[in-house]
């Protein structure tokens, strides 16, 4: 996620936006990229500057990358505040006057200000209260329905993923182990790690079957990941090959990719 936002440099490989490698961009092209890709972070208490009025926070996202007049900025601020469901007078207030859910709306408004193509959502609702989460998740869906907008959602809660994401990639120790349309993934998770994640997620239903597939051990250090398939030391289905050969992604169903020697 940080690579995608160009906050870190890759050791190898590329990040392409509209077919262009984002790490080669500079000058105008880089500023253009900054307007096209925005982010909303997990904690709305630390992502907003407490000493800036909401209006200024939102406008800043707009003016730093593009020449915009004050009047244009103001108009855009009003527009995005309305889009995220905040009252027009919210712009004149400070972050501490808002609740967590409202702050996350403000963070979203400032991400939207520059009309991005992609918003990276890093655990956008996990710091919010249960009764507020649905409000914000519904808002995310509405915004996407209203405009051409791609989201990259980073989340650990499978129910959140199921509700928002069209496609899902499951990561383990820096690698994508399974990648599929969300419906297909939830219908039939294939990779043992994905299966373990599903088994570990606790459905809000006391009669849910307890398919206890409790993983032993903990996630190893990414500094010295296991050889072969990184999951093999914790995998109940590990075979001799798993410790030696890193599996390659195979298509097991339409658009459903799995990196595992079982498939």
């Amino acid at each position: 996620m940080k690579l995608l936002l160009r906050l870190e440099q890759p050791t190898s490989g590329r990040v392409l936006l509209d077919g262009r490698d984002v790490f080669t961009l500079d000058g105008t092209a880089f500023r253009e990229y900054r307007t096209k890709v925005q982010a909303v972070f997990q904690d709305p208490w630390s992502s907003l500057n407490p000493r800036m009025r909401v209006r200024d926070t939102i406008a800043e996202a707009l003016v730093v990358n593009r020449p915009v007049s004050a009047a244009q900025a103001q108009a855009r601020v009003d527009e995005v505040l309305q889009q995220v469901g905040l009252a027009p007078d919210a712009g004149g207030r400070y972050p501490h006057e808002f609740s967590g859910g409202q702050r996350q709306r403000i963070a979203l408004a400032s991400a939207l200000a520059s009309s991005p193509e992609l918003i990276v959502l890093d655990e956008p609702v996990s710091a919010l209260d249960v009764s507020i989460r649905a409000q914000v998740m519904n808002l995310l869906k509405d915004l996407q329905a209203q405009q051409p907008l791609a989201y990259l959602l980073v989340a650990h809660n499978l129910a959140t993923v199921r509700y928002i994401a069209h496609r899902t990639a499951v990561m383990y120790l820096g690698k994508i182990v399974e990648y599929a349309p969300t419906a297909s993934l939830f219908r039939a998770p294939r990779h043992p790690y994905t299966k373990a994640l599903f088994a570990a997620a606790l459905p809000a239903n006391p009669d849910a079957p307890r398919e206890d597939f409790v993983l032993a051990g903990e996630v190893p250090s990414p500094i010295d990941p296991p050889t072969g398939c990184a999951f093999h030391p914790r995998c109940p289905f590990a075979m001799a090959d798993c410790a030696r050969v890193a599996p390659v992604a195979r298509e097991v169903d339409a658009g459903h990719l799995v990196s595992c020697h079982l498939y």
């Binding site: 519904n138 129910a159 199921r162 570990a200 606790l202 239903n205 849910a208």
Partner: protein
């Protein structure tokens, strides 16, 4: 699990916090019971008073702001409210203990794990250092830490989050206590580690028959390990009942709305029914039902008068005027 006698009972407990913005009625008339071998889930959103309830029980409210103003806390029938700090020190850790959310801040970073376990053991036990060391090792084994002898020499930063929370658990149950309060103990852990930890708590409970008050906002955890549930909103318990019944037929509109607003793992939903608005500030509570401003069913009476508690099933109660007129089955 079959439940035994009541070990912990709160009777109409009120705890206030004095702040610059006025008196916060953080715990405003909470009554609950937890039996031996039973897990009661205390569910609610942040700021609803769950943690303040827990801190009241241990008499650890923030000082000097916090104060228990009324009610009783009965631990095996004995009221803790009038106890002195000195008396409480003999009770905490030994008869009742607590696991907090963040293992990172529960452990002291400059002492080894063994040191901290021995310190906890020494509060309630005399004995030569070597024997306490052996007990500490046994305590780590109880929480399924591999190679406990080596681990005793480790410092907290050398351990993963899940491992640290196990150490916190080992300290908490070393008393061994009759009542354990777990305040969101798995919130800081990864999902796969969370299930390991919950399973461990279940195991410990099975072995020691301790009564557990489990504070969480996660209905998935409740469904998994709680025998009964109490739902808290703005300082009060609005509904309580056996887990299965509460999930099958929630009666308070807040419980209903909350359950409906949580996305589900096991089905695909186009749109979640969100709850509008947000919980009221605890220093400016509305006179009537606290959920009324957000409730779809609220009428004049709800705005005026706080609802009485009605029995809506076996051991199932709801504080809602609508529960008065409509019998449960």
């Amino acid at each position: 699990m079959s439940a035994g006698p009541v070990l912990l009972e709160l009777r109409d407990l009120h705890a206030h916090l004095s702040t610059r913005w006025g008196v916060v009625r953080a715990v405003d008339g909470v009554s609950l019971t937890v039996r031996e071998g039973e897990t009661l889930g205390l569910v609610g959103e942040s700021g609803c008073g769950k943690t303040m309830t827990a801190l009241s029980i241990l008499r650890l409210l923030p000082q000097p702001a916090g104060r228990i103003v009324a009610g009783q806390i009965l631990l095996e029938g004995e009221d803790l409210v009038p106890k002195s700090e000195r008396q409480m020190r003999r009770i905490r850790g030994r008869r009742i203990s607590m696991i907090l959310q963040d293992p990172q801040t529960s452990l002291n970073p400059v002492f080894s794990v063994g040191n901290q376990l021995v310190e906890a053991l020494r509060v309630h036990r005399a004995g030569p250092r070597r024997r306490l060391r052996a007990l500490a090792q046994e305590a780590l084994r109880q929480v399924r830490v591999a190679a406990p002898a080596q681990r005793l020499r480790d410092f907290p930063h050398q351990m993963s989050g899940g491992m640290k929370q196990r150490v916190v658990g080992a300290i908490a149950v070393s008393g061994p206590p009759r009542v354990l309060i777990a305040d969101e103990p798995t919130t800081a852990l990864d999902v796969t580690i969370q299930l390991q930890y919950l399973t461990l708590l279940e195991e410990i409970q099975e072995r020691t028959r301790l009564a557990m008050l489990f504070i969480t906002h996660d209905f998935g955890i409740v469904a998994r390990i709680c025998d009964r549930v109490a739902v808290m909103y703005a300082g009060r318990i609005v509904e309580s009942g056996p887990t299965r019944e509460l999930f099958a037929a929630p009666r308070h509109p807040y419980t209903q709305a909350l359950m409906a607003a949580v996305p589900r793992m096991d089905e695909s939903v186009e749109r979640l029914p969100a709850i509008d608005g947000q919980p009221p500030a605890l220093q400016r509570l509305p006179p009537g039902c606290r959920f009324a401003p957000r409730c779809r069913h609220a009428d004049d009476r709800c705005q005026r008068e706080y609802p009485a508690v009605f029995a809506v099933g076996r051991e199932h109660e709801a504080a809602c005027w609508r529960a008065e007129s409509s019998p449960s089955r």
